[in-house]
Amino acid sequence: MEGQNVEELLAKAERDEAEKLQRITVHKELELEFDLGNLLASDRNPPTGLRRAGPSPEAELQALARDNTQLLINQLWQLPTERVEEALVARLPEPTTRLPREKPVPRPRPLTRWQQFARLKGIRPKKKTNLVWDEVSGQWRRRWGYQRARDDTKEWLIEVPGGADPLEDQFAKRIQAKKERVAKNELNRLRNLARAHKMQLPSTGGMHPTGHQSKEELGRAMQVAKVSTASVGRFQERLPKEKAPRGSGKKRKFQPLFGDFAAEKKSQLELLRVMNSKKPQLDVTRATNKQMREEDQEEAAKRRKMSQKGKRKGGRQGAGGQRKGEFRAASLGWQEERRTTPRRKEKEVIFILGPACKQRTILNVKFGGRGGIKESGFCCLR
């Protein structure tokens, strides 16, 4: 009984194995063509089974697919394997089938400006060496680019050329020139690209007259034209009914959102202090501007009076009067002596005038300190 069971079991095991083998091995009349790089298996056997199948060949199709896949996987198992991070991986060979293009063939690009010029003149590109001997560093360096051979921005000593301003920074000048060359190159590259793709550069988009531009584009072009003068559009008149463009003022700048909280607090407290204090605060800028304006007005009035007097009374007076502009310590030789008497509150200032000061000259005397000019008056000499 048991023996029979064991025999049965063994037979069953054998049958199972045979089935497995059968499953693995597939018999085909023509061998499949494999392109393991693309995981591709091409079956050239005539599809007789399918033709015989009838209207719904589902089962036959499935069997065919299973067989072909089995063969492909058998081939894959024969590939050399390796371990990559705890996974057994088969290394696929190079694909042999050439796949068709995904995208259409690129159309020929228009020539760049240089290429057009070169073609016109018949200039051929000269073959140049990649590396150039650099004396300074004593090694072979590339012709252009990073750590190039003759980099004039990296020189440590530059002689100031003959006609240049001695205070000019020659190093900065060279770096600036380099930046400008790079920017120019970039601009030309973008222009070539724009021409190739028949697009416009965003900076000058819509500025070239095409004949069919929208109202906004024309408006923008007009604004740019208006601003493109030497005075940046300050003295360009507008048409009678033309309105000022919106948003053309200076953009306001605000403090950052979390700036320095302590500084903010301090400025607010200062503002509160000023608000709470009863005395009116002195606005220094306004005071000085006012003072300067007053001085200018006085000077203008004086000049007018002098010129009038000079015309009326004759030379000497006029000459003496006209020399008001020279009333400085150096030319006239006046010295000033300050003396404070303890009893009196006001200061006495004595001007000792030099010989150049003539009779009947009118002196415009101003007394002032750090807080501005306090008093001014005229004194006439005899």
Partner: protein, 170 residues
Amino acid sequence: MRPLTEEETRVMFEKIAKYIGENLQLLVDRPDGTYCFRLHNDRVYYVSEKILKLAANISGDKLVSLGTCFGKFTKTHKFRLHITALDYLAPYAKYKVWIKPGAEQSFLYGNHVLKSGLGRITENTCQYQGVVVYSMADVPLKPEESFSYEEKTNLASIPLTAYRSSSQTF
């Protein structure tokens, strides 16, 4: 959202100082944390630094409010104080008016306070002074539609004591 400019801060402080005077510096400089004023969509918000940093992560068009709204700047750049500022202004108010329970309801529904409804009042309150109105239980009152309070004290002659000054709701 941005901090206030000098001009805006000055206008706002002048308005608030009408009600709380020098105590305003207690609002600016607090011992228990850094609080600051920020402007968002023309409204001024009084917000702690912590909340401000959280609110900065929200985009401007989605942010509705932050901290406490103190008021807003009108189109002509005048500052309007809102009743949401009452909680911060009431403790520091310089001039206070207490009203009797009878007049309380009337005030809350938007009527002016008559002299008969006046309970107590701070000394030396001059005419047209900005005050904060309290009930007898020392609760600051916010009427339905108003938020800025003006007072007219000429107690001898005119019976009307406190005007509720109206303005639009928000």
